[in-house]
């Protein structure tokens, strides 16, 4: 069991390490020799507390907590921000007992592949036990960020009642709550500064939550609700914006039309981040009314740096945004089905752009225009309008090559396409040495290089070899074990790897597990990796946040052996369909993760913990 200690805290990604809870290491300052008087001890402790306050990085804090018992104690008392990458790795009770003065918590739940319907929805990641525990112990809590958690209205109500100083709520990819829960937060969190809802699945209870904000001036700085797909009371929203002088970020949902957007913008020219709602007119227009001067409304927003929305865009109105283009650092057109012709007049002005999200409707030609102007581009995401395997995708290797030639500072790319070549990927690896995140999705399974007909091994190999800062990689297309040997050989900093429909044999997975010491998160689907490959990662699983393997060649017995060898690993085998009985050997998903708590008590019927 002693090797657990070093291995489980190595990553620094988890806030609590089992070792510190059990035995001290190294010299114990407070134990000291005879000549140290008690008061000197206290001085040392005070000094320590004050010094540790400056440590913000959780990795540094984890390291500091291992020095000695008193360091452990001091660190636990001074840690204000908690990051829990897997809500099942540690229990709410253990966390709240160790860390007493927490003001900010980040909590993550479901694995990412659950987003793609690969397992039934009621898997777990319930916020309820966490809010209950924190409600008791963390009365001073100010900030909460949840990702992929199941949050109920009752949980939001408890949150709103429990934390009198609560200021920031950020929910990303969460579900289980509705507008009633939002109404609770709006009405009871009197010091609320930030309410950010991003990509959540919000139930429409038809509660007018916008009207629930209290009267009088608010401290709102950020109100992001573009994913809340419910009608809102516009008058209430307008009044809210009017009485929120600190509001800097506002992202509207698609039920706000462009006429309403105008009214909000003239109330809030101080905005820095704007999500424009539908960006098209309502169907009812008062007769005789002139169209508002949208251009001047945008021109008045001199601080605007981030633009998004355009949920049901009427492209005639696009020129209205020209006045702000030159200042934009972030532009999200990923809901706007616009052509190259429509993009080009806009993008031409966007010299400072660092982040761009678009749909592939802009075609390779649109990407050429991006490459020509956006020399400072750091992040590009190209989403498909037609997300089917055999659809037509108007972007290809041509667009990728153009981007690589124009945007040498690129750090992060997500690119969906139907046709790709090794040459374009190799070119990107050489032209964009700063790449940290490379996610290429060739939508047709097992698609080779469309010109040479070869596997995409060399392209991805070049990425891991030439992009020396690479930490996140998602591969696709026709890939042999050779691609994985490259990843194992060169991908020394890779933390997150996503694999689908790739590889020939167990060797593929072995290369990765044996070659990538920093690997934290590994998600694999539909690839021919079996028990022997799984076995080859035994030395490493305690260092990882999780491993996901679905529709591979694993057997239940093979997984069981892992569970037996590594007692601190929770090994879940999951049936893909809630209704079916779990047959003896067959399962759809293996999801395993390190944990201090052992098998969770809230596992649903379709989950078996080995």
């Amino acid at each position: 069991m002693s090797e657990d200690r070093a291995e489980m805290s190595e990553d620094g990604g988890e806030s609590s390490s089992p070792s510190s809870a059990t035995k001290p290491r190294g010299c114990d300052v407070s134990g000291g020799g005879d000549y140290l008087s008690p008061s000197a001890d206290q001085v040392l402790d005070n000094v320590l507390d004050n010094v540790l306050l400056f440590l913000t990085s959780r990795r540094d804090r984890n390291a500091a907590s291992l020095v000695s018992k008193s360091w452990w104690r001091a660190e636990a008392l001074t840690r204000e921000e908690l990051f829990i990458g897997n809500c099942y790795a540690v229990s709410p009770r253990r966390v709240t007992e160790r860390f007493r003065r927490v003001r900010a918590v980040t909590l993550k739940g479901k694995p990412r592949f659950a987003d793609f319907n690969l397992m039934p929805p009621n898997w777990g990641a319930h916020f309820a036990p966490w809010v209950a525990a924190m409600g008791h112990r963390y009365r001073a809590l100010e900030k909460l960020c949840l990702k992929r958690m199941r949050v109920k209205d009752e949980d939001l109500e408890l949150l709103a009642r429990s934390f009198p100083c609560f200021k920031e709520l950020v929910l990303v990819c969460c579900d289980g709550f509705g507008t009633s829960g939002l109404a609770m937060v709006a009405s009871k969190c009197r010091q609320l500064r930030v309410l950010d809802l991003t990509e959540d699945d919000v139930i429409d209870d038809e509660v007018d939550w916008i009207s629930c904000f209290p009267e009088g001036e608010t401290s709102l700085e950020s109100l992001i609700f573009d994913c809340v797909d419910c009608l809102i009371d516009f008058e209430a929203l307008e009044q809210l914006v009017t009485r929120s002088p600190s509001l800097k970020k506002l992202r509207l949902n698609r039920y706000v039309n462009i006429g309403q957007l105008y009214r909000l913008m003239i109330q809030a020219p101080q905005l820095t981040h704007l999500g424009t709602g539908s960006f098209s007119p309502s169907e009812i227009v008062a007769q005789g009314d002139q169209e508002p001067d949208y251009v001047s409304a945008f021109a008045a927003c001199r601080s605007l740096v981030c633009l998004s929305g355009f949920r049901e865009i009427t492209s005639d109105y696009l020129p209205a945004i020209y006045p702000v283009c030159a200042n934009l650092t972030s532009l999200n057109f990923s809901y706007a089905n616009i052509s190259a012709e429509q993009l080009i007049p806009v993008i031409r002005h966007c010299h400072k752009l660092q982040i761009l999200w678009v749909l592939d409707s802009v075609c390779d030609e649109g990407l050429h225009a991006v490459a020509a102007t956006c020399k400072d581009l750091r992040e590009l995401r190209v989403f498909p309008v037609d997300a089917r395997e055999d659809g037509e995708a108007p972007v290809s290797d041509v667009g990728l090559l153009a981007i690589s030639e124009g945007c040498s500072k690129l750090q992060s790319i997500l690119y969906f396409c139907q046709r790709m070549t090794n040459a374009a990927v190799i070119a990107m690896s050489k032209n964009c040495p700063d790449i940290v995140v490379f996610r290429l999705c060739i939508m047709g399974r097992h698609q080779p290089d469309h010109i040479t007909d070869e596997p995409m091994d060399e392209g991805f190999g070049a990425i891991v070899k030439n992009c020396k800062k690479l930490t996140r990689l998602a591969v696709s297309g026709l890939l042999t074990d050779r691609a994985f040997s490259y990843i194992g050989q060169y991908g020394k900093l890779v933390r997150t790897l996503s694999v689908a429909f790739a590889g020939n044999s167990d060797m593929g997975l072995k290369y990765v597990l044996e070659g990538c010491p920093r690997l934290q998160k590994l998600e694999i689907r539909d690839s021919p990796f079996g028990d022997s490959a799984l076995h080859s990662g035994l030395h490493h699983y305690y260092n990882m946040r999780f491993l996901w393997m679905s529709s591979c060649k694993l057997t239940r017995q093979g997984c069981k052996e892992i569970a037996q060898r590594l007692p601190r690993l929770v090994v879940e085998v999951i049936n893909g369909s809630e209704e079916d009985e779990m047959e003896d050997d067959f399962f759809d998903v293996l999801y395993m993760y390190r944990s201090l708590e052992g098998p969770r008590a809230d596992a649903p019927r379709f989950v078996t913990i080995l």
Partner: protein
């Protein structure tokens, strides 16, 4: 999970064995193309996919669309569901047209593509504006009705709705107005 045995249960007549069919022997036609629907959580296993492709190559020149696989490509469903086919914009001289009615404070906007004929359009207008437009006649227009619909065409001229064939109307109409019947009588003189 194989093989309806119905053929083989017929006494000595092993009809299935002598059945002429395309495809690999030993596989039943009925379990090809499984689980394309999004609701079904089951997905084709890698082995089955191989067989599917092999079969397809044997059969005919136009391969059937690949069975859609669950969760692939990895686009979250709210993004997949977002896109309606691109709206045909107003550069085609009037698919979305504004409609005003005398005496009403607000305009409405309608999509002419939704309607296939004049009766459909007129009925919709009657519903929308709670008025009676009546029946068109070539000779008298909408005589006798409380209201008459007119439209502005590509050339900027105001015409009576119903005079030209529907297709010509729907591509040349830029906007519409529902005029009071008393004023409409004047059009007869033009």
């Amino acid at each position: 999970m194989e093989k309806p045995m119905s053929y083989e249960s017929e006494d000595h007549l092993n009809l299935k064995a002598t059945e002429l069919r395309l495809g690999l022997p030993g596989r039943d036609e009925s379990d090809k193309q499984s689980s394309p629907s999004a609701k079904n959580n089951k997905r084709t296993s890698p082995e089955m996919e191989g067989v599917l492709y092999a079969e397809n190559e044997e059969q005919d020149c136009t391969p059937p669309p690949k069975a859609q696989v669950v969760g692939w490509p990895p686009v979250r469903s709210y993004r997949k569901n977002c896109f309606q086919p691109k709206k045909i914009e107003a550069d085609a001289s009037g698919v979305y047209v504004k409609v005003s009615m005398d005496g009403a404070p607000y305009l409405r906007k309608i999509d002419l593509n939704v309607y296939k004929s004049y009766p459909e359009l007129l009925k919709a207008l009657e519903n929308m504006f709670k008025c009676t437009i009546g029946v068109y006649s070539e000779r008298d227009g909408y005589d006798g009705s409380d209201y008459a619909p007119i439209y502005e065409d590509k050339d900027g001229d105001w015409m009576l709705v119903g005079d030209v064939p529907w297709d010509m109307f729907s591509t040349s109409c830029k906007r519409m107005r529902i005029m009071k019947g008393s004023e409409a009588k004047g059009l007869g003189c033009l």
